[in-house]
Structures are given as C-alpha cells and as structure tokens.
Symmetry: C2
Subunit: 147 residues, 2 copies
C-alpha cells in the first residue's frame, strides 16, 4: 500500500458512506423521505423509551433548531408525534406512530439492501462491526438504537 493507514481508513469510511447515500437517495424519495428525515426515523427505536428532542438531536449530532425542523417534516407525514413529558413539561418525546414504525423498518431494509456493505460475507460484516464498535465505544455520545 502506498498510503498512510489511518488516511486510507478515513477515506474508505467516507467513500462507503457517500456511496450508500448516493444509492439510497432515490429509493428514499419514493417513500417521501430525504436523507435527513430517514436518519431521524432510524434513530427512533420503537423498543426503547421514546427519547426527548434533545436526546435525538444529540444522537444525530445536530442542534435543537435543526431537529425541530426535521421533526416537523416527520410529523407532517404522520410518522411521529410529539408527546409532552409529564415529568418535565418543557420536554417532548418523539414517538413513532404505527405508520412511522412500519416506514422505519422499510427504510432500514431499503438502506441495507442498497448499501455496498451488503456485498460482504457475514464473517466480514462481523469483523467490521467488531472493529467499529471499538471506535464508537471510545467516545460515547447519546447512545443510539441497536435494532
């Protein structure tokens, strides 16, 4: 290899992400979603406690106004609802609707299907995952859904 390892690794991650993004833009548009809305939808795990806006914003590495904007679009499509938190009435939890839950799993299916990662063997997927988990473990952020 004629390249610095870390540099190549950063580049490779970037490339895989860009390819995935390019490949899913079309299919997502057919469901009335964009990359931003799909990301937010993905971040809402129906099996977990509905997270507050702030929690989701942290997960998505974006700020509060941005998440408000994205949540508006999801709500307008009937995919999420803002539920006031009785424990803290400043806070609102983002809850998936039935339709939202269904669209979310459709999104995950579509994204995985179009991702170049799906060309890998299960062994490679497992190895990849084990390495990336180390990375994510080091700098914990608003921990994200796992399913």
């Amino acid at each position: 290899m004629n390249e610095d390892g870390p540099v190549a690794a950063v580049r490779a991650i970037h490339e895989v992400f860009m390819r995935t993004d390019a490949a899913i833009t079309g299919p997502l548009a057919e469901m009335g979603l964009t990359t931003a809305t799909a990301q937010a939808l993905w971040a809402l795990d129906p099996d977990d406690e509905p997270p507050s806006m702030k929690t989701v914003a942290t997960r998505l590495h974006c700020n509060a106004p941005n998440l408000s904007f994205v949540a508006d679009q999801l709500a307008a499509r009937g995919l999420v609802e803002r539920v006031p938190d009785p424990r803290d009435r400043r806070s609102r939890a983002l809850v998936l609707t039935a339709k939202g839950e269904q669209v979310r799993s459709q999104v995950m299916r579509t994204v995985v299907e179009h991702s170049p990662l799906s060309a890998l063997e299960p062994d490679d997927i497992a190895a990849l995952l084990s390495i990336l988990d180390k990375v994510v473990a080091v700098t914990p952020r608003g921990s994200a859904p796992t399913s």
Copy 2:
C-alpha cells in the same frame, strides 16, 4: 447481539462518519474550508494527472453544477486552478496550486487527527481497511486518490 448484522454495520459506518464530520467542522472552518470544499480538495491527488471536472464530480458522487460551485470556492481561495485541456477544449483540469497542495495535506492531517478511527490500533486499521477495500472494489466508481 440483538441486531441484524448488516443493519448494525451500516449504522456503525454512518455513526463514525457523522462523528468525524462533527469533529472536523470547526478545525476546517479555521482554515477557511467547509466539508464540501475539503472533500473536493482531498479528491485531488497532486501525484496524479490533474483530473477533469467531470472526473472529480464522479469521485465525489455529485453532479457537474455542484462541482462547478465548489471549484469556484477553491479557486477563490487560491487552492486550485482550472487548466484547459489542450486535447479537449471543452474540458478543464483541476490543478492544485502550491498553496492548495499544502492546505490539502494539512486537511488530511487534521481530519485523521480528529477522526475517532485514530483511536484504533494499527492492526485494527489494517483489518478495517482490508474489509472496506473489498466493498469498494465491488462497485468501482471514478477511482479516487490513494495518498
């Protein structure tokens, strides 16, 4: 693991990318660059033949008008020059200036430094790279610089 392998892998790639992006936005801004301009700069390998606009657009998975826009900004900062191709006068090659070459290596250094991947051991970097190379090899796109 309570999660489908490919789903988790796609998510992990996404998470690493988002963290990297969030971490480098500040440092890049200090150099007068944005994510978009830094990506374009990264895609120009000074050791290779200067690529045409179209070639770079393909590398970046964006379209011609977008690259025109980004190239304008790089040119305005004195980092690249548009050099007419004598073989095809429709085409213009993007050539790094001396300053551009210097800023490019500074960008790569900064990005790697701030990437969560830099927390990995060299062995893990190598393993990661070997897996991701398989992915990229399957669906070749405008092949990118390697250094």
